[in-house]
Assembly symmetry: C3
């Protein structure tokens, strides 16, 4: 990638490094497929200029603010808004300087890598951040951000993004995606598409769930006072999301548990929830049951299911009380997949019409559960290492762990899952470099011929994510063939 040290992240041993370079060169300039992430669609719908460097890169990035919190610097001093409106630092330059003074904390972290490479590749700034350079970097970035070439759509083109999926709730009116479609940027097959993320109308423990369900009914023109109406409303919204270009749904649950209830049992749970009488076990059972319901809907409408389990939300209660959600207070917990996914897999696990991409925050399931499951069920694919695991060392361990049982073709390709638009190219570049290094080792150890490694890295970077997420054409050799399906 222009601006990046050529050998960044490649193995040091000369033979492997040469192979890694050769393999990386094949994918370096391939378009970016970003089938899952959290970019605000307004950014591209309105194409408004970005704010100052601090608001662009620091304030919204919980990877950064949590690290400073871990060393005693409270988020308010970095401009993170408070729930009750208590004053926080508002001067971008002050935030930037404060952050720069703690830059050494990020040595060896992906945040250091992403930010540094973003300075270089996006803003053409090759200075090292620090108290002495903070102002110059800030000023040069601020100047660039004022130029038209740094408006979101211009960067989108420059980043060579082919498809970017945002994530919306069924309660979103998809207005911004309509605007994008009107501008020739969105809609089915478009460059910016949406993703159906129903947690706030599925999780009874979500603040305001019952109100959300009522609102869902209004949006969908269905009576969500009853369970059948609730299901009908979800189907309507899925249709609307498909019409806005969605090719997948996403489900963020505390556990991977699935459950198959009878309609009557499910209706009872639903009613108990609507009457505010559901307890934690009811909520867990309903979430688990709905995953199986959504799998059934997916077989009908073709949306690929993504499952993101294992995050204990708002573990840092002081942080949640002061600053709210998604500011760095979530922590992973041990996640069990084998027994949790059984009801879903019993129902549809061998049906190649279904695609379930499973992610994890618990790498200690890679060889024991995830690889054997993905290598044994037609419907399962392994999502890229996620969140706390989305970094060079783990990306490498992921390949080292899952490939021997699941191969490459039961994985779903890299997913950036980011809120930070400017970091998208760097994140994909890092994944491509790690795959190049891993494949280079297989070649150097005579475990894979170079030409097959070359075909594989192109598949991992481009064809696999398109195929698994049903974007464009399926990857021919791995698609369910005319030979028919397993069920």
């Amino acid at each position: 990638m222009p601006g990046i040290t050529p050998d960044l992240l490649f193995p040091a041993e000369a033979g492997q490094r040469a192979l890694a370079r050769e393999l990386y060169a094949l994918v370096e300039s391939l378009p970016i497929i970003s089938p899952h992430g959290h970019i605000d669609p307004a950014l591209l719908a309105e194409d408004t200029p970005f704010p100052d460097p601090a608001r662009l890169l620091i304030v919204p990035d919980h990877y950064l603010t949590r690290m400073l919190l871990s060393q005693g610097v409270p988020p308010a001093q970095l401009g993170v808004p408070t729930r009750d409106g208590d004053p926080v630092e508002t001067d971008g330059r002050t935030i930037w300087r404060r952050f720069a003074a703690h830059w050494h904390l990020f040595r060896g972290t992906p945040s250091r890598l992403w930010l540094e490479q973003t300075f270089r590749t996006v803003f053409d700034i090759d200075l090292r951040l620090g108290p002495d350079t903070a102002d110059e970097i800030y000023d040069r970035m601020a100047a660039k951000l004022a130029e038209p070439e740094f408006r979101p759509r211009a960067l989108f083109e420059r980043f060579r993004i082919e498809v970017l999926a945002t994530t919306e709730s069924p309660l979103d009116d998809l207005g911004r995606h309509a605007k994008l479609a009107a501008d020739g940027w969105g809609g089915p097959g478009g460059r910016v598409i949406t993703t159906f993320r129903p947690d706030n109308v599925v999780d009874m423990e979500f603040e305001g769930w019952a109100e959300n369900v009522a609102w869902l009914g209004e949006l969908a023109g269905e009576d969500t006072g009853t369970y059948p109406g609730y299901l009908a409303a979800l189907r309507r919204r899925r249709e609307a999301f498909v019409a806005a270009g969605a090719t997948s749904s996403d489900h963020g649950h505390p556990t991977a548990r699935t459950l198959r209830l009878s309609d009557a049992e499910a209706a009872q749970l639903f009613d108990r929830g609507m009457r505010g009488r559901a307890d934690a076990a009811d909520a867990e059972a309903f979430r688990a049951h709905m995953l199986v319901e959504f799998a059934r809907m997916s077989i009908d409408d073709g949306l690929v299911m993504q499952l993101h389990p294992g995050s204990v939300r708002n573990h840092n209660r002081w942080l949640y009380a002061t600053h709210g959600r998604d500011v760095g207070g979530d922590i992973p917990q041990a996640t069990e997949y084998l027994h949790a996914l059984t009801p879903l897999l019993d129902a549809y696990g061998n049906d190649p019409r279904l695609r379930v991409v499973v992610y994890t925050l618990d790498e200690y399931t890679f060889t024991r559960e995830l690889a054997p499951l993905a290598g044994g069920y037609a419907a399962l694919y392994l999502g890229a290492p996620w969140w706390f695991l989305d970094a060079p060392e783990v990306l490498r361990r992921f390949r080292e762990a899952v490939t021997e049982t699941a191969g490459f073709y039961n994985t779903a390709g890299f997913v950036d899952d980011t809120r930070a638009f400017c970091s998208i190219p760097v994140r994909h570049d890092v994944a491509r470099r790690i795959d190049a290094g891993f494949l280079a080792r297989l070649v150097a150890e005579h475990r894979l011929p170079l030409d097959e490694a070359a075909e594989t890295i192109v598949d991992l970077a481009y064809h696999l994510p398109k195929k698994v997420f049903r974007i464009g054409e399926p990857l021919a050799p791995t698609a369910p063939t005319s030979e028919g399906s397993a069920q």
Copy 2:
């Protein structure tokens, strides 16, 4: 190994590679000790020619059929028999071509490695499998398989197998092993020996357990209607197995749980089971108790105990319903050893007359439980990485994880555990190469002198498995010495 790329699997760095070559050269041609596996003894007893290449290498190999299933190709299309006799693909060449069309799925997997090296070293075929070469490879293999040099016993000699253990149930009449003994191939100290695997008469959840127990009584000439008679029958059958050359027993349980019941309690459980009144907890308790009983028997008759816990059998229920057991539908589950093994270890853990070889499908117990246990109890040895873990990356991680606490001499040497006769030499070769690479790194990092690394790799490849499994002479320096035992 003749035919194999000389540096296969060796570290790429030149210094370590040179050391790995030097160490590997010491074990490359050593005889193979295969103390545990699932080769059908009929194969060697009758020495009948092998079937066509597809029936030899693909149809019975669940590593292969599950990978194609994971990409939507049903096992029936690969000739895997159905339980109800529904038609499946029967043409070997069609199966072979279909498999070849999906060969890319196995990039980076041990199956790719094993099969490719089997082509080369056993059949002298150096072509890369694919749609274009499928027929030629098939024809050349089929031609070879018709030659007398490719009969099982001829290959056994060519593979330099010194001892091969098969696995039989106590209900097996051991007729094939009698034939082998009669031919000078079997019996105590013979080349083909058996292993006592009593799961089908111990696990009350096993289909037809009660009938099996009755049958056991008939075979043993004991009244298995009572618990004492049941124990007596098991002792009789162990004697018969020892007479057929067995040096070990094998126990495949869902968990590693052990339990020490009084005879009265055990008898009650047994009776409940025989009356069909045992529940899941009873079955687990009885399995757990019997492990302690078998340990006691081992101290008497010297059979080495193997424990294979942690596999959830038939997790893929559709696959089980359609094709039955052992066709790729099993998945590992988290396995706890510390508390589970306590009753057994309290009873006999410090008694060097007992040898218990513990395997795992859960590598996330290597440093936390398995290495500390094997490094702290005289009776415990660590079995080689098993099944989903039986591949280069994990073999390497196993040494990196357990050596620092358990050393090399509390491990049991490589075990192929395979149903695929032709893959035995390659599997042992892979393990020898990984050990060579690991030891080469210790030498390169000045952690072990080369001469000790040389002694160690020979021990790992040959002396340790013989000693731990009581085949031939014990490995002198590590055997319990005249100094006496710990208990």
Copy 3:
């Protein structure tokens, strides 16, 4: 380190090795900060000569005796005392020879490394241990041990130890530390300091807990018959420990569970325990509650809290019955941190006045729980890999696992935690070499500039442990700043 192979433990690849050498050279001769360990303070208070080589290096080292036990050599044959006074081997030379005959068992283990480098660097003996050299090594060591240069205080100087913390119970009268202070060796800011380890008066399951609590009251001049008096007595003893130079407390619990009870609830538990009516759940709840109490005391008196959870003590019951505690019979168990630490973190997790150093015996929590917690709470620091994990491979995996989420500055620096005085320099040297190798890879992969790697390795070896454990000045850039705290 003089006497050690220059490239010991460095990566074999030439470029990384050169970088590792360069980085290691910066820390090779830095003073040793040993903020936690189990050296007997009498050793330095009385400065008495060491016993014979066997009693110095083998008899008290459970890493060594458990390995021989695992191969059938009972600890009595190595001179480990028995509880009931049954005779054990008493001849140092016989023990030494017996040990030397089993030296091959330690290939690839840290014990091999530590002992071999201790021979070289402390005793200037470059022979390889074995039956042929046992006597010569024994005699040469014995001769050295008779010289004044090999008295404990002389070695302390030679080892360049700046600060060494021992570990005492609140029931210790700290007389030896008074002697050390009188000699100018101890006291606040001294070279030998103590650590407050209250397990024997906190854990109701500890033998003689109630008697210990009574004794605690006498020592502290408080009435420990009541819960408030018990808390007051603990505060008094903490004051005495602070006066003896302590900067930290240490807590060894079976689990990491914390709990916040009301004073009334805690008092009830305490009374139940004192009346001998507490069950296992009561004991666990009281331990968990006291951790939160100690955190509160730490905020007042500044003692850094160390938490050592996850060891199942005396798992080998025969060993415990025969030889007692701390002779190699402990085994790690799976340890959960996320939910266990929640009550403590809810109370004080964001308060930078509190420092909690968390250790683990369960490396399968590194990326899932420990790194995210340490990288998200101001009060938490990650302790060095402990006990079974205190070895080169795991030290490397620790950095590879936690750095991406917690960085380097939420770790606490190396801790030797040893009973073996002569192994202290080697253990720290090993950690410095592993960090040099890890940082060298980051530099070689262009992930960190060399000058920052250089600053980092000096911080890890010297500044971080001093800062985290409040020894000397805090490490300026990472100390809670004048900007104020998070809570």
